[in-house]
Symmetry: C2
Subunit: 67 residues, 2 copies
DNA sequence: TAAAAAAGCAATATATATATTGCTTTTTGA
DNA sequence: TCAAAAAGCAATATATATATTGCTTTTTTA
């Protein structure tokens, strides 16, 4: 499923996918696919994205999983 | 650097590396290297580990990064 | 409403996470 | 204190995240 949280946080900061990609040292395509929920990104990339968007891992990548 | 948080949470639940590996569908070696801080695991694996240990991503993988 | 910017899509190449195997060292418990 | 379990280490194999390139479609804006 799409990761709407990243897209929202990104747009909220007025960044394009390319802008975010540059900030985290990734590719526009990679960012696009992560937002589309078609990737299983590495922890480091997740952390870099979170920092670039002033969010935490939980904010962007954690959903309350029912026990 | 070592990820002491995972090791602590794992031992706290009385699990061996092999036990945790089985729970998350990974290998003992992979768990060991993650605990040693020598891996850049995938988001999915991080999420599975967090769920298996009843923790969140932030609990195990997020350090307060100074701005 | 048209041009520019942003985003989507897809194929191939490359880097690296993860598995597998086998052995050694450390830790634990009877 | 010693045997068994757990963890460390290292080499090779495999799967997959990510990059690269090029083109198309959608969105934005003047």
């Amino acid at each position: 499923m799409e990761n709407i949280k990243i897209k929202l946080a990104r747009v909220e900061k007025g960044l394009s996918q390319q802008d975010l990609a540059d900030l985290v040292g990734a590719t526009r395509q990679t960012i696009g696919l992560i937002e589309k929920g078609k990737y299983n990104p590495s922890l480091n990339l997740c952390i870099n994205i979170a920092k670039a968007l002033d969010r935490t891992l939980n904010d962007l990548f954690w959903y309350e999983h029912k026990k």
